[in-house]
């Protein structure tokens, strides 16, 4: 179990870097779909981050959190995209 324990901190750092990059896109825009895309990427990355942390600390506690983030993230992306699609239509 030694090799993995050396790899995991670097993996967690890299995922955090990936999330920072996505955050930059979220703040920068320029359009609304871009921000939705950045949020989508952020939640996918956070699932990977949670699983890596779970492996690091040898606990299965984080799986439920990852599963819930997967579900809520999907619903969130869907709701935001739907709002953009409908907001333009005059009903």
């Amino acid at each position: 179990m030694s090799l993995l324990n050396h790899v995991l901190p670097w993996g967690i750092a890299a995922i955090a870097l990936a999330m920072l990059l996505a955050l930059w896109r979220l703040l920068r825009g320029p359009t609304l779909p871009d921000r939705i895309l950045a949020l989508d990427t952020l939640y996918i990355d956070s699932i990977a981050l949670l699983i890596l942390i779970g492996m690091r600390f040898n606990t299965a506690l984080f799986f439920e959190a990852a599963l819930i983030i997967a579900m809520l993230g999907f619903v969130g992306t869907m709701a935001l995209s739907k709002y953009l699609m409908r907001g333009d239509i005059i009903e």
């Binding site: 359009t31 990427t41 739907k82 699609m85």
Partner: protein
């Protein structure tokens, strides 16, 4: 050269590969100049990125003695939902783009 060591090696490699693809997805998100190009990036993170990390986690927990298959559920869920959210984001971005000729 035991099986444990080999599985350790495999899961470490899977973590590295998964993290690499997640990172490349985010780099593309920042680097590319156009929304439709950027949209291709998170599909990488969600397929190979999370997929590899989940397989590594399965191996890791099985080595620790407790067989853990929750990860299959998460990866299945992501594989089902990722195309749907990507599709909706394209639709939100394009709405009725007149630049695309209809067949």
């Amino acid at each position: 050269m035991t099986t444990t060591f080999l599985l350790d090696l495999v899961s470490s490699a899977l973590v590295i590969v998964g993290v690499f693809f997640t990172l490349v997805g985010s780099i593309g998100l920042v680097k590319l100049s156009d929304f439709m190009k950027r949209l291709h990036c998170p599909t990488k993170a969600s397929t190979l990125g999370v997929g590899c990390v989940l397989i590594a986690s399965m191996i890791d927990f099985s080595l620790a003695g407790e067989t853990s298959l929750h990860e299959l559920l998460i990866s299945l869920f992501i594989f089902i939902t990722a195309p749907v959210s990507a599709h909706l984001m394209v639709k939100a971005a394009l709405r009725d783009d007149p630049n695309i000729p209809r067949p």
